[in-house]
């Protein structure tokens, strides 16, 4: 991957997002500061309605903040027009939606190849990379299936393959393990972890502590604010001593 480890891929500075106005307005995010480096895997946890999906949507350029700045590889998203934003999303940002968002009239492999094709990669090459991404998430056999021929868990993995295809430097995943059994869920964590180890910045929204534990850093969000962060200690001796052994 072309990105250097440690380089800042995502930055949110004093980001606020308010929906509606007046008495019924909802502050989904308030004064959020967050940076994610290349090679870093960050998990976001928080109660339902705390602003996790809003945080991801803003980071991926799917939504605009009410105030504050969002930078992807130092580019302020506010400076990008809709076309440029769409291009950035196809090239640099992989997004796994809570509800998959796959195109029903395309096969699984075509869905996965779509962002590359839209960006001008020749169809053959895009398809080859799609098969590769599908191998990585463990669904090589689903290439020619349509959405209505797959289970929720299978569709979810297609969505993940689509998010990691190409050289995505920022991967955003909103509860990608929701429809998966625990073994498959762990497989998804392995894929996200390996993307981060290869240099991508990864942000995962999850309510499962077991999955969040794969991240380098866990960010806790509540009522639209980041209230805490946890980073691993990587000191097994101390940790086992603390476990009472």
């Amino acid at each position: 991957m072309s990105v250097q480890r440690g380089q800042q891929v995502l930055e949110l500075a004093k980001v606020c997002r308010t929906f509606g106005d007046g008495a019924t307005s909802v502050a989904a995010l308030r004064d959020v500061d967050l940076t994610i480096d290349a090679g870093e895997f960050v998990a976001v946890m928080g109660p339902s309605g705390s602003g996790k999906s809003s945080l991801l949507a803003l980071s991926g350029g799917l939504d605009r903040p009410t105030s504050g700045g969002i930078f992807v590889e130092s580019t302020p998203l506010a400076d990008l027009g809709l076309n440029e934003l769409a291009r950035l999303r196809r090239r640099a940002v992989g997004y796994v939606f809570q509800d998959f968002n796959l195109v029903p009239t395309l096969t699984a492999a075509e869905n996965v190849a779509l962002p590359l094709e839209l960006d001008g990669t020749p169809s053959r090459e895009a398809y080859r990379q799609a098969r590769e991404a599908m191998d990585l998430v463990g669904i090589p056999e689903l290439a020619n299936r349509f959405m209505d021929e797959m289970s929720g868990g299978q569709q979810q993995r297609v969505a993940i393959a689509r998010a990691i295809i190409g050289e995505r430097r920022l991967i955003l995943a909103d509860e990608p393990t929701g429809a998966l059994d625990s073994t498959t869920g762990q497989g998804v964590m392995e894929v996200l972890r390996s993307r981060a180890d290869a240099g991508a910045a990864v942000m995962l929204v999850t309510h499962e502590a077991r999955h969040a534990a794969w991240a380098d850093r866990v960010v806790f969000i509540r009522d639209g604010r980041i209230v805490d962060q946890a980073a691993a200690m990587h000191d097994p001796a101390m940790l086992l001593a603390q476990a009472g052994f």
Binding site: M45, A209, A213, W214, F220, A232
Partner: protein, 201 residues
């Protein structure tokens, strides 16, 4: 954790001396429970006193060899047969702490829960990392260690889920209390009056 039974189980395998028992125990459990050599000798003394092991004397290199007796084998057998008693590991300090916290005025229970959640997730991150590294270059001897790690991961995960539940309960209670006081305000009845009315019933 029963050092007594663990040492017996190792002697069931073959006769050994104190230091060997310690090394063997640590390698089989992935050094999860560092055993103090003094503990090993005291335990061997007691086992000998109780007739569960016998002292076979010096091996010629200054090591005192112990072997298991028939009574000892029986004890190992019943240890493996019986489930571990529930109250054995968890004198659950966290549960006790939270139970006290919710009953004491002026204690910020939400903050206690969140601090604990951060600590638990951090531990979970570490276990997961160690597990990932171990599994990535797994040697046959790591099987037992991976089992121990899995157990720690499941326990910690359960702890986090339990914390989530505690928090949800508190939110529910707070909301119930709020709507109750709102109801009372809207009827113009104070909570003191409600209490007195209830006491009269």
């Amino acid at each position: 954790m029963s050092i007594r039974h663990s040492l017996l189980a190792l002697l069931q395998d073959q006769p050994r001396y104190g230091y060997q028992l310690r090394v063997e125990f640590e390698s089989r459990t992935g050094a999860t429970w560092p055993l103090n050599i003094g503990q090993v000798y005291t335990t061997l003394d007691r086992l000998e006193r109780d007739g569960l092991v016998q002292n076979d004397g010096d091996d010629g290199e200054g090591h005192v060899i112990y072997s298991i007796t028939p009574e000892g084998s029986l004890a190992v057998r019943s240890w493996f047969d019986a489930p571990v008693e529930r109250n054995n590991p968890p004198r659950n300090e966290l549960a006790i702490k939270l139970a006290l916290a919710v009953t004491l005025p002026g204690v910020d229970v939400a903050a206690i829960i969140q601090a604990q959640r951060v600590a638990s997730i951090r531990a979970l991150q570490d276990y997961t990392k160690v597990r990932r590294d171990t599994a990535a270059n797994q040697r046959p001897a790591d099987t037992a260690w991976l089992l121990v790690l899995d157990s720690l991961i499941f326990q910690t995960e359960a702890e986090v889920r339990w914390l989530d539940l505690c928090e949800a309960r508190m939110v529910q209670q707070a909301e119930a209390a709020k709507s109750q006081s709102a109801r009372q305000q809207s009827t113009g009845v104070t909570s003191e009056e409600v209490r007195r009315a209830e006491a009269r019933r």
